[in-house]
């Protein structure tokens, strides 16, 4: 490996130093390998290596039926499994021109937004832990997340990889008393979100670590195809739930939070505000949910007509897209997963040039990536 000599002063000879933030590291949010070149404390270059969790899901999909692939979509973005299920199931339904009942649409919205809250809690908790607020925000966020997981446990039986959405509806109907529990949770979570803001948002040390660091400009964000809270923190007001509504999102009132600078603090602030807006959506959906059938009987093997579809939905991390090519048989001919974190991570090596080593960790935490969907 070449080594750049930085100064050849006869009193002081220095050269660049190369550090591996290797695949096993507590702050890299999974198995990510960063090859950093340092000049003292300042990063001059960063090469990102991915692929340490490549599980070849796209090859598996060519040999599974459409319903058999739903558990694999759980394992993509394993913190927001319901949203991944939803995007895949919507894509197959569009390919087959299938209509879904209203009750199923409302249930899907409630579940997807609850999972968005859970995912943002993990994002904020692990981000604060990496910055240095060791364990307190993390334990608080996991405590709240356990309440959401208890609700999901009662609905579908699992804690992390739910496998709940089906082509044409959902797997089980909501239990009878679940809306009381969800209303209680919304009230509880609102006060806790205010707690987190009090702890972190205007804290002097937090501001010093996050303001004016890792600034992502609007043009870079669009050119790198960044989506999700990272795009909204750079000032572009774009959310698929408002701009290209799917399911029944057009019936609800909610705001799209944006910020102007695009630095690390803005990305954190956008996520906290989105948490509150998600609670607002769940409240309206619970109040307006209609009666009717929502459950799909198991056992049917789907054979969509030959054709292609590309469908995007708004995941907590960005826009997840499924591109499915069908040739009329029971298995897809080609299935491509367009993961939001894949494009979000590509901008990382640009953002990191010229910052100190400690800021590398805060920029990586604020981008909120997940290796399960980058490597698929």
């Amino acid at each position: 490996m070449e080594v750049n000599v930085v100064s050849q002063n006869k009193d002081l000879y220095s050269e660049e130093f190369s550090i591996n933030m290797g695949p096993q590291h507590p702050s890299t949010h999974g198995v990510l390998y960063l090859d950093l070149r340092l000049n003292g404390e300042v990063v001059t270059d960063c090469v990102t290596h991915i692929g340490y969790l490549h599980r070849s899901m796209e090859k598996i999909a060519e040999n599974r039926t459409y319903t058999q692939f739903i558990p694999f979509t759980d394992r993509l973005d394993y913190v927001a499994s319901m949203n991944n299920n939803l995007c895949y199931v919507l894509a197959v339904e569009k390919l087959m021109n299938m209509e879904v009942s209203d009750r199923a649409k409302y249930i899907r919205v409630i579940i997807a937004e609850l999972n968005r809250v859970a995912s943002h809690l993990i994002a904020i908790g692990t981000f604060a832990q990496d910055i240095g607020a060791f364990a307190t925000p993390l334990f608080y966020c996991f405590r709240e997340r356990e309440k959401i997981i208890d609700i999901f446990d009662e609905i579908c039986g699992n804690r992390l990889t739910y496998n709940y959405m089906r082509i044409g509806g959902v797997q089980f109907d909501l239990p009878k008393d679940i809306d009381e529990r969800i209303k209680y949770f919304i009230k509880y979570m609102r006060s806790k979100a205010d707690d987190y803001e009090e702890l972190l948002t205007n804290n002097i040390i937090f501001l010093a670590r996050t303001k004016n660091i890792g600034i992502l400009s609007k043009s870079a964000a669009v050119s790198y195809s960044i989506t999700g809270p990272n795009l909204r923190a750079s000032g572009i007001k774009w959310d698929l739930r408002k701009d290209e509504p799917y399911l029944v999102y057009d019936k609800f009132q909610f705001d799209i939070p944006t910020c102007e600078n695009g630095d690390v603090w803005d990305r954190y602030k956008v996520r906290i505000e989105e948490l509150r807006q998600s609670l607002k959506i769940i409240e309206q959906a619970i109040a307006g949910i209609p009666e009717g059938p929502a459950v799909v009987k198991p056992g049917r093997i789907y054979k969509p007509p030959a054709g292609e579809v590309y469908l995007r939905t708004e995941n907590p991390r960005g826009e997840l897209g499924f591109y499915i090519v069908s040739d009329g048989s029971t298995c897809p001919y080609r299935l491509k997963i367009r993961a939001p974190s894949f494009s979000n991570l590509a901008v990382f090596s640009e953002l990191v040039k010229g910052v100190k080593v400690a800021d590398v960790v805060s920029i990586l935490g604020s981008l909120d990536i997940l290796m399960g969907e980058i490597d698929r």
């Binding site: 991915i50 692929g51 040999n63 054709g307």
Partner: protein, 150 residues
């Protein structure tokens, strides 16, 4: 505005494009992709967001699929390029869209398509000494345990 309107506008400038019957995608010859990408990126349409780039193995040729998006006119269009299996080379679009850097590396890793003038074309998901292109239909590997189909 719809995809067929964009197709008509592209056809005025680049007469060799055709529209696919089944999927309504715009099929483009491989040597004109650079010109068409520049045309789409221009301020009038501003398709300045390459959302997805992937490939499909159709046994005698490999189809590249480009999905562009425009925030201004809120439209998503699909472009396709068919490359014969024995000459898998095409120009890279990294100068126009920075997101193509990693997308093209992934297509090279999984299908073997070479992108000319790419800044760093090497494998991204598999180890760098991997042999073969896994997502092709004729790929086989000693440890590959196939699941029986119904």
């Amino acid at each position: 505005m719809r995809q067929s309107d964009i197709f008509e506008l592209i056809k005025l400038k680049f007469p060799q494009v055709i529209q696919d019957e089944l999927t309504k995608a715009i099929v483009v010859p491989g040597d004109q992709i650079l010109g068409i990408a520049g045309f789409l990126n221009s301020a009038e349409f501003s398709f300045n967001n390459l959302h997805c780039l992937t490939a499909i193995d159709r046994k005698e040729n490999i189809e590249l699929v480009y999905i562009f998006y425009s925030f201004k006119i809120r439209l998503q269009i699909t472009l396709k390029v068919c490359l014969p299996v024995d000459s898998l080379e095409i120009e890279s679009l990294t100068n126009f869209y920075r997101s193509t850097d990693w997308f093209e590396r992934e297509v090279y890793d999984l299908f073997g398509v070479k992108f000319l003038n790419h800044p760093n074309l090497c494998r991204i998901l598999n180890p760098s000494d991997w042999k073969g292109f896994p997502l092709r239909k004729d790929y086989s590997y000693p440890d590959f345990i196939k699941k029986a189909q119904y």
